[in-house]
């Protein structure tokens, strides 16, 4: 099972959907960036299709 870490570095207070962060693939540290909550959801959905086991939650992390 592959694991991913979500790091959110910036979030707009007035519009929380505006955010900047990266999703890190734990096995090889490859990073994919996102700039909005929509992009993050799309990214996670793509990852889920390829390798997620739905009952295992992501390790979410807010810096």
């Amino acid at each position: 099972m592959e694991s991913y870490i979500v790091r959110i570095y910036r979030q707009d207070i007035t519009n929380p959907h505006n955010m900047a962060g990266i999703v890190v693939k734990a096995s090889d540290d490859t990073e994919t960036r996102f700039t909005s909550s929509g992009e993050l959801i799309d990214l996670l959905s793509q990852l889920e299709e390829t390798s997620f086991q739905p009952h295992r939650p992501l390790s979410a992390h807010m810096n």
């Binding site: 099972m1 694991s3 870490i5 790091r7 570095y9 910036r10 900047a20 962060g21 990266i22 734990a26 096995s27 090889d28 990073e31 960036r33 700039t35 295992r56 390790s59 992390h61 810096n63």
Partner: protein, 294 residues
């Protein structure tokens, strides 16, 4: 074990003709009230997990060649990663023997637990009670546990410091110890097991939070070089932490190191653009503008 209590008892045992004053003088000298006991000296089992994995039993480092020790060591790592106390044995068995059925996994765990106790040369090191496994903190010292305790203590002290005037030198000593303890990610960079990620991230997050607080404390104590060191250490851990850039730039400016501040700004712009596709925050831009205007 070389605890303060044992040191007092051994002093008393060697005392001749009731030389109590000398004994008290010595004990005061030796135990002059550290705010927090962080030393790994004297522990029968010492486990280092930050930035690496290594183990000392009775002061002797343990090597890990061959398969015989692999599973017991994996058990020890998993136990620490899951908190080290009252960890459900079923959960550990599921992680270590994912393909085995319940009974087989249970038997394997029993055997591995026995081998681990033997390797640690201490029957009491691992406690199994009512289906839950714990690492005995009376004979095992774990760097990550000490770091977490120290980090919690320091954070509460730094919060109090705003209200009460505590001794800055004590805080600096504690902060230096805590920052030195964290030598890198839990179990080092080579380990990417999914069961280690949550604890690794928690420790990383605590370390970054501590660097922020300690940096702020150093700034307020006019220890700008130390503050700068804390912020730059934060950027070594994660090159996308804008607050670290901002505070480090502010320190450089106060230290009249204009060129260094500009270089750091350029590093910030480059990293944020390359990795997140964003520009620096308004605060960082203001700082940079103030540098250009000065």
């Amino acid at each position: 074990m070389n605890t303060p209590q044992n040191k007092i008892l051994s002093l008393l045992a060697t005392m001749e003709n009731g030389d109590l004053l000398e004994c008290i003088r010595q004990s005061n000298q030796q135990f002059s009230a550290p705010l927090f006991d962080t030393t790994d000296d004297g522990w029968p089992i010492r486990i280092y997990t930050l930035g690496r994995f290594s183990l000392l039993t009775n002061d002797k480092p343990m090597d890990f060649p061959g398969r015989a020790k692999r599973k017991p060591m994996d058990l020890l790592k998993v136990l620490i990663a899951l908190g080290g106390r009252d960890v459900c044995q079923v959960k550990i068995a599921e992680i270590l023997w994912p393909d085995a059925d319940g009974d087989a996994a249970h038997r394997s765990l029993d055997t591995t637990l026995h081998r681990l106790r033997k390797l640690l040369d201490n029957e009491k090191a691992i406690v199994l009670r009512e289906g839950k496994i714990s690492l005995n903190n009376e004979c095992c010292w774990v760097d990550a546990w000490t770091f977490e305790r120290l980090q919690g203590k320091l954070e509460s002290l730094l919060d109090q410091l705003l209200l009460e005037n505590l001794d800055n030198q004590d805080i600096i000593k504690l902060a230096t110890t805590a920052l030195t303890l964290y030598k890198g990610p839990f179990l080092g960079l080579s380990s990417s097991e999914s069961w280690a990620i949550a604890y690794r991230e928690r420790l990383r997050s605590k370390f970054i939070r501590l660097l922020r607080k300690v940096g702020r404390f150093y700034e307020s104590s006019a220890e700008l070089e130390l503050a700068l060191e804390a912020y730059l250490k934060g950027l070594e851990i994660d090159s996308l932490l804008e607050e670290m850039y901002q505070r480090a730039m502010a320190c450089y400016i106060k230290l009249e190191l204009r060129a260094e501040a500009i270089l750091l700004y350029q590093r910030c712009v480059s990293n944020l653009n390359a990795q997140l596709g964003i520009t620096p925050s308004a605060r960082i831009e203001e700082l940079y503008q103030s540098l250009l205007d000065s």
